[in-house]
């Protein structure tokens, strides 16, 4: 059996999500190929070849793969599946993976299983529905299994001995869409999805300046990534990619500190698998306390600076 994992990358580095997808792919058994389609992406190919568990790296270069547009990428994957007879196609369940995988599945006329958190065997999985309030067993007999896998549910594959690299021909440029611009925030902080500690702020912060002044020093002291509730993002305190939850990022750090967040089910969906949850909220009845290991009923404007000061 052969599985194709599609690498997520920006032509210079491999995204963390891909290493988690490789681990999930290995659980299906058989060989795991890693496709790197891009432009001038030699560095990614070299990195991909060293990911433990990868049987070979398939490198496809063309200028029109540079921006990772779903239409061209999906068409390429479908032709590779047909040519090399892959039986499974996996990606990490990131914004990138969720964009491209269903397009591949539809072109192959197969179902997709989204956000897989457990693989019992090929064709037999578990996934969350209803904002993570329910886990459901899913079975599929489709000839090609297309899965997006929740990165928090599978460890990241480490470094291994280098896998062979093969080139494959590019597909056609369908020209259905073009990238006009990309505004990607560069940060010195750990990535939200991969951080060991996450400090998250909600509407209780009141505004963006407060968010920065109160939470940034705490995150600096803890070496933490910063996150937010939807309310904080909608109100413009922080950019969209900070959002944790059902429709934002799913995180499971060792420590999650929720500050001024009430704990709506949509928020809990994104963080309730964290190791230890701390909640700081002035409302003793806030639902966040029902999932918090340590709850502190306090005004965050006093409690957080005090906590930062004593670290």
């Amino acid at each position: 059996m052969k599985t194709l994992v599609i690498a997520e990358h920006d032509n210079s580095t491999l995204a963390g999500a891909t290493r988690h997808a490789v681990t999930a792919a290995a659980q299906l058994g058989g060989e795991v190929d890693l496709l790197v389609a891009g432009n001038d992406c030699g560095a990614v190919v070299a990195e991909a070849a060293r990911v433990a568990g990868v049987s070979r790296v398939i490198q496809v270069e063309a200028a029109f793969y540079r921006d990772q547009l779903a239409e061209n990428l999906a068409a390429l994957v479908v032709s590779l599946v047909q040519l090399k007879l892959y039986e499974n196609v996996l990606v990490g369940s990131s914004a990138w993976g969720r964009n491209v995988a269903p397009r591949i599945a539809a072109l192959l006329d197969v179902a997709q299983v989204s956000d897989v958190v457990k693989i019992s065997r090929r064709g037999c999985y578990q996934r969350p529905i209803y904002a993570g309030n329910v886990l459901v067993g899913v079975e599929s007999d489709d000839p090609v299994q297309v899965l997006t896998v929740r990165t928090t549910a599978f460890d990241a594959a480490g470094e291994g001995s280098p896998a062979p690299i093969e080139s494959a021909a590019a597909g056609a440029d369908l020209g259905l869409s073009q990238l006009l611009r990309r505004e990607i925030s560069r940060s010195e902080r750990p990535e939200l999805g991969a951080a060991k500690i996450v400090v998250s702020g909600g509407r209780g912060l009141g505004n963006g300046d407060n968010y920065q002044q109160v939470l940034t020093p705490l995150a600096d002291k803890l070496g933490a990534a910063l996150g937010a509730s939807r309310a904080a993002v909608d109100a413009g305190y922080v950019p969209n990619d900070y959002q944790v939850g059902q429709t934002g990022k799913i995180v499971a750090p060792g420590l999650y500190v929720a500050v001024g967040i009430s704990g709506a089910i949509q928020h809990l969906a994104g963080m309730k698998d964290s190791g230890v949850i701390v909640a700081i909220n002035k409302d003793p009845d806030a639902p966040i306390f029902q999932v918090a290991d340590y709850g502190l009923v306090a005004d965050l404007f006093e409690a957080v600076p005090a906590l930062t000061g004593s670290l």
């Binding site: 539809a106 006329d109 209803y130 869409s177 803890l222 950019p239 949850i277 290991d293």
Partner: protein, 249 residues
């Protein structure tokens, strides 16, 4: 240009669903249902396009049982012009919905389809992308801004590191994210007016599409609840617990 907006009837987002005692599914008895929140945003965007004369007509379509008519009426009350119910009592999975929508697209020839990014019941996040594939059209998912520019659209998308903007030729499929707009409330006069707007019922079987489920859903369970934690008295106690008990800092 016609704009087609697929809307799904789902459990209201405020409801915390329960699993049936035999683990066969989710207990939907007497549970409050509503239009999928992302679809409400999609309808709003389409109606705004028509109000600014960039779209000629907004058609809403739902695939499901007769009760989905209620969802369609909600969308009509928000300002959609007419509705289509693709009626089926069977379980419709995203690939099947995408195929039914493709049949409707073939009939209506919309310039633009705006879906929600995900249905908050199955949390699949697939249908729009699948429909775009079946149409051979371009896609712009997780949209937070949409501008029509002649024969294409410019769509700003929420991606993991921030934002990106795509130009996509029409016809195209867009999926709406939360920050695309703030949907209006339907006013009472508009709710009354919506009752008179055309709502066509098409039996799913009449569309000649294979909608048989590909996935079998087995055991449903609620994830193990987190053990109730403790409240600490002050910052000092919190710090000591984190250091000595949880050992996370």
């Amino acid at each position: 240009m016609k704009v087609l907006v697929p809307v799904k009837r789902v459990v209201d987002y405020n409801v915390k669903v329960r699993v049936r005692s035999d683990n066969s599914g989710v207990d939907l008895n007497g549970v409050k249902m509503a239009i999928n929140p992302f679809d409400e945003i999609a309808v709003e965007e389409a109606v705004r396009l028509r109000e600014s004369q960039q779209a000629a007509e907004v058609i809403v379509v739902s695939c499901g049982g007769p009760a989905s008519q209620e969802t369609l009426r909600t969308a009509l009350a928000m300002g959609a012009d007419r509705a289509i119910l693709v009626e089926s009592d069977a379980e419709l999975q995203p690939l099947a919905v995408a195929k039914l929508l493709k049949a409707v697209v073939d009939r209506e020839q919309p310039g633009l389809v705006i879906c929600g990014k995900q249905a908050i019941d199955d949390d699949a996040n697939q249908t729009g992308q699948m429909l775009a594939a079946l149409m051979g059209a371009g896609q712009a998912t997780f949209a937070s801004k949409l501008v029509v520019e002649g024969s294409s659209i410019h769509v700003t998308r929420e991606v993991d590191g921030g934002l990106e903007t795509l130009a996509v030729g029409l016809p195209a499929v867009v999926t709406a994210d939360l920050r695309l707009n703030e949907p209006r409330y339907a006013t009472l006069p508009n709710i009354m007016k919506a009752k008179k707007k055309p709502l066509e019922v098409l039996p799913a079987a009449s569309l000649g599409v294979d909608v048989a489920p590909r996935l079998r859903h087995g055991r449903h369970e609620e994830p193990a609840p987190r053990k109730g934690g403790v409240k600490v008295a002050d910052v000092a106690e919190l710090l000591s617990k984190l250091k000595n008990e949880a050992k996370v800092i």
